[in-house]
Symmetry: C2
Subunit: 372 residues, 2 copies
């Protein structure tokens, strides 16, 4: 069977037509795309899109179908993919040294794209759309949700693990009277977070979560939060990560983990996302998180609002498309659009989740009432 | 060091005094209790209580302290316990044949005690006390919570795995116009459930969840529920259990799993509870449940209200104490009181949890909004 036949048959199985009339149909511009997709799977699909070999008006809906039917599992893994899988098992892809490289590649070089697409606070994580109409509102609703889940109150000391551009640190300090210690491996983000905080009681340290002596003076934090950072931790380090947070947290203290999650346990990322968007990232499973917290935390509440990431990513794509100054045919633009819309489709298909997990060190006295 | 010294030191470590003045202090009636506790740990503690060798006015608070400080881990496991652990690893303690024996021993022979302690519907699982003032209200609130989480509506066909005395089946049929298929390994419970349902569209089958041909006609169920039954399934069967429920459920259908949970993964029960109350029971962990659902279900919502089991067990104990006709010194009365109050303390300490987990087969379209 030719590569074209294979691709046509796979597309047919998910109701997608090659060069068909629907917005989610694939328009092939260069027939070499077929061979590249069959040979390299997810990587070949993404790279041939970046190169303009095929187009699709509604990429999110196309990926909804691809992801829902797990089409990637129907292609045999290439030798290159097998090598990647071995590497993910054998190496610590998120060692101290590698973690910094990732931050530089992922965040610093693509900062303009992030600024073009996000809300006013450059928030690089899923918004909470329950009562929100705009991206700004959804991000502020998310900060408020986290603050209420953590039961923040004036005078508390909060740790923000991987504080991004500092939006939540500022929010907690300004609205709740907390003092916040943020840590971040990106120099650029740390600088932005300090600027955003102004004279509010927010400290930002450029360091890894494992370097507790850099950011922790020995006084237990009242609460901790980590938003959109656990995806960079890697399965080998989940236990060290949880042990570190438990160590610096007060007994009974709450830790909110906000992370994208996967329905299944894996040790490696999608190959295209790994190469172009989130180097050495890994989406955790319930089983992996469950194992990593045993004996350290009580799981108080597990909230799944993955469907809100579909909305967030569509809003990001609309902003990016409106604000990006470059050509619509250049490779970076196509890569970014592919990232945002493929990811939106994955959340729409329910293959990927967005979890906010409230953990308490040793259990809260008297239990914990869920907040939504 | 003598056994008495060891027990006194352990008690001291959790603020409990031997023959002290506090209601949670231990009053030793027979000094042979020390040796039995040191030699047999949890089993020796419980059996010596049953035999009247020691007393305690506030057993729940005593067990809150024992459980919070994990005192049992400070005693070396006896040879007998090691043998039990091996058995739990090597055998399927919850095979089809054994599962029936458990039902007979656990439920049929102690039915009078259950009737004496529970609400009007003989509900043998944790109530939901958020807005409830009495046990009856807490159990009805729990049924309502499950129905709303499952989004029940008229005409739906619901599977109730381990339907107990049929309280929820009746509730779903009467209040929501659903038809319900209940399965149960206990003949006695199945009969009671049929009687309770009267002419409502409720079928009850005496069979194991694995015997799908007995209770399933091939039409997918719209929703499924399992309340207080997963604790009898056993780690070897978690995957088979989830596979079975997924098989009989409609795509996108919701499954609510209501179970006691443990903070840590284990393959065996507490030895005293195993021998006297829940033979071959096992409390699942997050990691175990997470692994068992991979590729079958999307986890939509994970609600922890373990603290409500403290209240439920205290209410059960008050009812039992009021209604039980036997002597307060007989071994069965003391065993039952010990079960209810030791368990209450374990939930109060946050070592044990009560989880309601909403799972959907392949994910709900458009996401799932948590209900509380």
């Amino acid at each position: 069977m030719s590569s074209e036949d294979i691709v046509r048959r796979l597309a047919d199985g998910i109701g997608v037509c090659i060069n068909g009339p629907n917005p989610f149909d694939i328009q092939v511009r260069n027939p070499a795309a077929y061979g590249r997709i069959v040979a390299h799977g997810s990587l070949g699909l993404g790279e041939s899109y970046m190169d303009g070999w095929w187009d699709c008006d509604d990429l999110a809906e196309l990926f909804h179908r691809i992801s829902r039917h797990q089409v990637d599992r129907q292609l045999r893994p290439s030798a290159a993919l097998v090598a990647e899988m071995l590497k993910a098992r054998l190496l610590n892809l998120q060692s101290l040294r590698r973690a910094r490289i990732v931050a530089t590649e992922h965040y610093d070089q693509t900062i303009d794209a992030y600024r073009a697409m996000t809300d006013r606070w450059i928030t690089l994580s899923c918004g909470y759309w329950k009562d929100a109409g705009t991206l700004d509102e959804a991000q502020e609703a998310k900060f408020s949700l986290i603050a209420r889940k953590l039961r923040l109150s004036a005078g508390q000391r909060i740790l923000d693990v991987g504080c991004g551009f500092g939006a939540f640190a500022r929010f907690a300090a300004e609205r709740f009277g907390c003092s916040v210690v943020g840590i971040n491996v990106s120099v650029e983000q740390a600088r932005a977070a300090r600027e955003l905080a102004g004279s509010l009681p927010v400290e930002v340290h450029v360091c890894d979560y494992r370097q507790t002596s850099t950011y922790w003076d020995g006084r237990p934090f009242d609460a901790a939060v980590s938003t959109g950072m656990f995806e960079h931790v890697g399965w080998r380090n989940y236990r060290a990560y949880m042990t570190t947070v438990a160590e610096v947290l007060a007994p009974g203290g709450l830790f909110l983990l906000h992370t994208v999650g996967s329905n299944t346990s894996s040790r490696m990322n999608d190959p295209w996302f790994d190469r172009y968007i989130f180097p050495n990232g890994l989406l955790p499973s319930i089983a992996q998180i469950g194992a990593s917290i045993e004996g350290l935390f009580v799981m108080e509440d597990w909230h799944n609002f993955g469907i809100d990431y579909d909305k967030t990513l569509l809003a990001w794509n609309a902003n990016f498309d409106r604000n990006w100054p470059g050509s619509r045919t250049d490779r970076f633009y196509r890569m970014w659009r592919y990232y945002l819309l493929a990811a939106a489709g994955m959340f729409r298909s329910r293959e990927k989740q967005l979890w906010q997990i409230v953990l308490s060190k040793g259990g809260t006295r008297g239990g914990y009432a869920s907040v939504r």
